[in-house]
Amino acid sequence: MKNWQALVAAVFLFAALFVPLLVPTDYILQILFRVFLFAALGLAWNLVGGYAGQLSLGHAAYFGVGAYGLALFSKLGISPWISVFFGIVLAVICAAMIGTISFRLRGPYFALCTIAFAEVLRLVAKNLPNVTGGDVGAQVPALFTHSATRSFYWAGVLLTAFAFALTAWIERSRFGYYLMAIREDQDTALSVGVNAARCKLWALLISAAITGFGGALYASMFLFIVPDQVLAMDISTEIAIVAMLGGAGTLLGPLLGSVILESSAEIFKTVFKEAHLLIYGVLIVVVVLFMPEGVVGTLTSKLGRFKKAPLAPFAAPAPVAAQEETSRAALNE
């Protein structure tokens, strides 16, 4: 990130931090909290799904473990913030286990495997009422008691800022380039000595830590959680969609995606009531068909600027793939 870009980001951060002083109602602040929370989650997902190109559809696992970590550890009498920390540790441990198994798989197999893990966690949380409270739910302590909505908003902004800064740094680091190399062609990356398994796992661990913290914030905001809410596949999809809508593998993508998705969801909630996910579906289909690189990806490639920006992900057209196949076949002969 160049200096002027860092400056712009810092200005935005300060502007975001001052918003609560201007916004009169808690309602709007809650929506903004959601926007920033999902921006942070999208940024975290982006490390695995965007830069490393591994389509995780099970991030609800880390989100839910973070949320339940806060709820259950504080039930044992541990103070809330330390419980948050334990929850994050637990989410990272989960990520290590899930990653070790699922990263051996590629493409759709990987995506399906991450779904399966998240679903197993959800079902276990549902079916062990003695531990988690089951479907009845678990109480979550408030992390902020004084002017709660503002504090949650600030926490959301700071988490996003942290995830953003981390992503900006990773994008320019050797680690980031390894991840992008894995995305573009894992076999080639392996052949030039990139330890793909370790890189992907590290990306997932970092991602899971941020997601776990996000889950704890979300849970504490609602003060009450059930498995079908925090461990649901809806959370996994929402996180992935936020990042992909804005542009997977871009720094600004998840931010923009979260603004678009959360605000449109909020607007359409009044129109469609329970069916407000309809707008998600329409947005996804439109983006996939007309902007396969996401909003940011499509804009940057249209404008032709930011030449140093990472290659447009996932846009290998069919003929190239066909050529690859034939050239590979030729090599085999």
């Binding site: 798989l105 399966a116 079902l123 996804i284 996939v288």
Partner: protein, 293 residues
């Protein structure tokens, strides 16, 4: 006491009856995956559409779902065909990523669309067959609708297998599955075959929904659990193997039924996923398949 044996036997029979319906859902998914390498996240939504279509026709005419299921099949064939032509064909050649996202988006649209049109209420239909039970010996009884559904599903599964293995269309579909680049060079119209395969796969889900309607609750999200189960079946059977998916469906039905019997109903789906993860991590080519992951 021999009693536990009867209980277990009853559970296995129930499992096989459910499993036959799973099998056609899984076969549809396996056909789509085999020919197009598409993991269709809208499969459950298609099943839901089949259920609602049958429900609407039943409410209007009173014809039993067991007679009018071809209607749902035809409707879903058209939906599948149109989905392929309109949505999937334009993004062919892009990574699986985008296809998964697109079908997920489509599923959201269909499910929430159903919610808008029909509301979130649970529906159930009542047909005279529901109260009939067939007794085998003193201990074992079979609910008649399940038996009818089983018979229809078995016939359809055999028909689908015959189509894929014996007809020219099936041969073309398998050729595309084997090598999508060489198939068009052999004069196969890849687009048409893939569209028809997607249509047939979707029709299988729709028919399964139709057959499930009398014995199940109907609500907009009903397809989700079957979608997840169809993933499990396709992986268990070996990705893209149609007969593998069919066997996996029966296995899944029995495993679920036994899990419900001994551990409780709430663990059945969890056992599905554990099985799924075990197969993916130990033998990703599937138990009955030979393809590499």
């Amino acid at each position: 006491m021999i009693n536990w044996l009867y209980i277990a036997l009853q559970a296995i029979i129930n499992g096989l009856l459910t499993g036959a319906l799973y099998a056609i859902i899984g076969m549809g998914m396996a056909l789509i995956f085999g020919v197009m390498r598409i993991v269709n996240f809208a499969h459950g939504a298609f099943l839901m559409m089949g259920m609602y279509a049958t429900y609407v026709v039943f409410q209007a005419t009173g014809i039993s779902p067991y007679y009018q299921f071809p209607l749902a099949g035809a409707l879903l064939f058209l939906v599948g065909y149109a989905t392929y032509m309109g949505l999937l064909r334009p993004i062919r050649g892009q990574v699986d990523f985008m296809v998964i996202l697109l079908t997920m988006g489509l599923a959201l649209i269909l499910v929430d669309g159903a919610q808008l049109v029909f509301g979130a209420d649970y529906h159930q239909i009542n047909i005279p067959l529901l109260s009939k039970n067939i007794h085998i010996g003193p201990q074992i009884s079979i609910n008649a609708p399940w038996l009818v559904a089983f018979a229809i599903a078995a016939v359809l599964a055999c028909a689908l297998y015959w189509v894929v293995t014996q007809t020219m269309f099936g041969r073309a579909a398998r050729a595309i599955a084997q090598n999508p680049y060489a198939a068009p060079l052999m004069g196969i119209n890849v687009n048409r075959v893939q569209a028809v395969s997607f249509g047939i796969g979707s029709a299988a889900a729709g028919i399964a929904g139709s057959l499930l309607l009398p014995v199940f609750y109907l609500f907009p999200e009903v397809g989700n659990q079957f979608k997840l189960k169809s993933f499990v079946m396709v992986v268990l059977g070996g990705m893209g193997s149609i007969q593998g998916a069919a066997i996996a469906g029966l296995v899944l039905g029995v495993v679920e039924s036994l899990t419900s019997l001994y551990w409780g109903n709430e663990w059945a789906l969890a056992v599905d996923f554990v099985l799924f993860i075990l197969v993916l991590s130990l033998k990703p080519s599937g138990i009955f398949g030979s393809q590499r992951a």
